[in-house]
Symmetry: D2
Subunit: 165 residues, 4 copies
């Protein structure tokens, strides 16, 4: 069970009545990360197994933070600030294949005191072909999973990245 | 980056104007599978890394098929019928932990000639606590990723499972 | 890069002059665990990707402990006793395939105050075909990775399992 | 169950009477690859889960091939030449941690018509600290897992890499 190359027509999902439209935030910066598909990430359909895109989203987030001037490692270690995943969604468009060089484009759609909302585009670097796209919502928690506010030093660059600076 | 124990309030995502409401299909049967959390599935937050739930969804689907009287292996090998993932969504409610016995409740929300829409609930077996829930949409393809119709012998039990038999 | 079905002739590895021969401990009990191969564990050669056997070894260890009357979770949580991997070796004989039911036979080759040496056989449950075999050596440490002695309540059943009781 | 920071004393494993000593091939070239530890690769001990090193070995092999002037993807696709894993061994010295930049040093210890024997050193890039080392033995097979000889165009650079050119 891998994923399709054909689009899904007329069939999508609405989870809630309160809606946040990703397309609206045109001020969000885009941050890029790259990786190469590992053999371990393929499956017997001959393409990348779909859960790996969720791991790649994380690579995108982490590299975005580094480009913002800090690391997620430091957030956790120095400030006990953890970005727990509350919701993840991925739409698959075309299969990534072994040894493909992959570009992950990450943007911060929204940020609030204790919430982060990221968007992702996964493309094949060689020709820019769109492979997948998705979003994830995160809650800021301490190591005990208690919700907390983002420390000021992180909130500021996040607001900047979201185009709300 | 693992996931939250607190609910997300007033912030959710609508992807499309054409909406399929999972809650509506009250006729879908529920099929259960169980697994035990592996150490390899934990992360340094001390809980299960979130992409593993996507793998568990697949365990749920596969065991549902077995309970319907056939196997996904046979679908692929004997009938060149593959269920490619087009869309996956997961909402995290409470973290699963190492060695937890996990129950995955899978149901077929909808089925059409070349489309399957599954729903999942992931609960801790010991106390029934809800850990995560999600949905996935799949396109039926051959090994060349060409869209095809479900062979009749599979469509019939799938319709039955979806309460449309 | 998956693994072979043909035996390797005349080519093996000796790492050290101090030798522990697994074959010698004929008193070690064998403990069994079972699992079913997940699609996520396959690769584009159409068989199980080789690093997954190392994860399965862990499943074997963990279920052995459960059969000995305690859990690795409790060892960690209640007694801050961790079994860190120092060395792992796996020889691949025949490929496991998607949806195969797998039996892992684990035995404790040796145990000392702060060292555990496990052996594994991975077979296909349907016909008993040998798929892989291996060994792992573990050091007993606390959560700070400081070497420690196995608490008495664990050492006793481990000695029993190793046939040294 | 992660791995130790302390050395294992006087306890090692000899698998066979026919011995190939990795240390002997001082003519083998060393090829480097780098990667950054992903959160998904950590476990609840707060370090990298041990089976990931086996995946990293593969990253090392693949990048070695690229530096030799061809790709493993082409070997598979164009020449139906697959490098199946027959044996893998890893010794863990010090734990890798989240976000560490990792260097994998790969060398070809030996090559014969249908056999490849690689050696690996995994070090932390920041300070060169040795984290793990290992070896793997591979058999050359076609997509049906039938043993075959390396095509001449691959054998030549492999012999060169092994210092036997």
């Amino acid at each position: 069970m891998t994923f399709l190359s054909a689009p899904v027509n007329g069939c999508m999902i609405s989870w809630n009545t309160v809606v946040m439209q990703p397309e609206n935030n045109t001020h969000a910066q885009t941050y890029e990360a790259q990786l190469r598909v590992r053999y371990a990430e393929t499956d017997q359909m001959g393409v990348v197994y779909h859960s790996n895109y969720i791991v790649w989203f994380e690579v995108g987030r982490v590299e975005m933070l580094r480009q913002l001037g800090f690391t997620y490692r430091d957030m956790e270690q120095q400030d006990d600030t953890h970005i727990a995943v509350a919701d993840v969604h991925c739409r698959f468009k075309s299969p990534a294949r072994y040894d493909d060089l992959i570009t992950i484009r990450t943007r911060l759609i929204n940020v609030r005191e204790s919430l982060l909302h990221f968007g992702y585009e996964v493309v094949r670097a060689a020709d820019g072909k769109a492979l997948a796209e998705g979003e994830s919502i995160h809650i800021v928690v301490n190591s005990e999973f208690k919700r907390m506010h983002l420390p000021r030093k992180y909130l500021a660059p996040f607001l900047e990245a979201a185009g709300k600076g």
